[in-house]
Symmetry: C2
Subunit: 293 residues, 2 copies
């Protein structure tokens, strides 16, 4: 979504507020999957074949770690590892996560600012009847999100404070866009940090959310299943109910146009357009709708 | 030296007590250069071209880290990194350094036991007039040990306790061999851990040290320079004076045979043989001298 917006607005005018609830420490390394995925994507370095990680990636370290009997279930490519080594060392040097994020963006030539939603430790957890409580990566990578979830929690979120610049960015933005991410595990952990949802509520008229569903299905990931299991249902209406208090407008896909009245009934203005960003043209169109609609 | 000894004695009967004063945490990873170098060498995986690290090594992560502007002065190969990731994660899991060492040796098929001299944190430091106080790796890698040293210290050694099995191994061994390592920075940090030098003194008759000098020169590393700068001189006599209190016998090279009376005068029995282990035959010969002499 940020890449699409940058086709309409100079990158310097865009600020991304990024979920850190998926972050983990593995092998001693601080790994921030959402910050990294967005950074790599904006730098044009994302691996379009796998849908995650870096292009031109190699796996020497993981192969060796596997041979040693190490924990290789969370695949870290050699290029990707350099990011984690860099971040971990800089944090050990006393740099903040925000500062490290700025450095990585600069090194990768990205003009868009990314702000960690918080610099405090927080962790998204999944309650399951089958496997007990799972960390984000256990749920997502180890179990391929193929397990029934009864609840999602955000450990540490209540005590967390918004990262540097987050509240100011939300207060000052002409428009606030909620990306077509998973409402329950990518957006909700940001909203769980005290202060952020309040600003959004105050600025509700300028907040535009994009539904992650097309025909009731998520393009990738478990948004549909989770909306069914623990949300308001895997429909445009269910998404509207998730966001009605903090966003004035919901953008839904043309195939879901029939849900428009239900979205309005849930208290949100409803815009209908093509939301699949599978070509630069469609991405630019969605960006225009989001910015101007 | 351990490899040479294993040509004469079953690996299961050998125990190596290993310096951890060079250990460092970099990029969040716990790195134990001496444990790793010895493990790799005993596994036949050491890089004979560079003299350090693993054979068949690649450098993808370091190249990328360098491109990110990260701290790439301490080169960690991709294969080598797997060892550090493994160790760091196992330590985070609650395993001890000794346990991790056992695991790595087993994974690499090494029958010889290696014991960290201590599991406590300790660090060898170098006082220099040119660059102030340097860590081991700053001295060794960053400055290529090409700097005058006025003192060596072992931070944390006084409060450290010998690692599990260390004192027992020293008490029970038929013979205790001090490898032809650097007396001041590879052996001294082990001796600085309270209790170890005492056991050696008690067992002095069974302790055989091998001089690291051949014709007053170290085969590699700064042993000669340091013996001149802060030791008893870069001669067999200087080495003897370093070890006289804890070892009854010093093995010196044939080219240093004229120093034999001075070694005896320093209070050590002196054995003269070829000490350069450049062929399996010479290595086996040195091992026999050390074990039987």
């Amino acid at each position: 979504m940020l890449a699409a917006l940058s086709s309409q607005v100079p990158g310097e005018e865009l600020v991304g507020i990024v979920n850190v609830g998926d972050d983990l420490t593995l092998h001693g390394l601080r790994i921030c999957p959402d910050l990294d995925t967005i950074t790599y994507t904006l730098a044009g370095l994302n691996n379009t074949e796998t849908g995650w990680g870096l292009t031109g990636e190699t796996w020497r370290v993981m192969q060796e770690l596997n041979a040693l009997g190490g924990e290789a279930w969370f695949s870290l490519g050699d290029r990707d590892l350099a990011t984690h080594l860099y971040r971990t060392q800089r944090l050990a040097d006393g740099a903040s996560l925000s500062e490290v994020t700025v450095e990585l963006l600069a090194h990768m030539g990205v003009a868009i600012a990314l702000l960690p939603a918080t610099e405090d430790q927080m962790a998204t957890t999944f309650t399951t009847s089958e496997h007990g409580t799972l960390s984000f990566q256990e749920y997502f990578v180890r179990h391929h999100h193929d397990v029934a979830v009864t609840a999602v929690g955000f450990t540490g979120a209540e005590a967390a404070t918004p990262g540097p610049g987050v509240l100011a960015a939300l207060a000052e933005a002409d428009r606030i866009v909620i990306s077509p991410s998973n409402p329950l595990i990518s957006i909700a952990p940001i909203l769980a940090i005290p202060g952020i949802a309040d600003v959004l509520s105050e600025r509700r008229r300028d907040v535009v959310a994009v539904s992650p569903l097309i025909g009731g299905r998520a393009i990738k990931g478990p948004a549909d299943r989770l909306l069914d299991e623990i949300g308001h249902g895997a429909t445009a209406e269910g998404v509207a109910r998730s966001y009605a208090e903090i966003a004035g407008t919901l953008v839904i896909d043309v195939v879901d146009a029939s849900w428009s009245p239900a979205v309005e009934a849930a208290g949100m203005r409803c815009l209908v357009t093509e939301t699949l960003m599978d070509t630069p043209e469609r991405a630019a169109n969605l960006a225009r709708v989001v910015l101007d609609g």
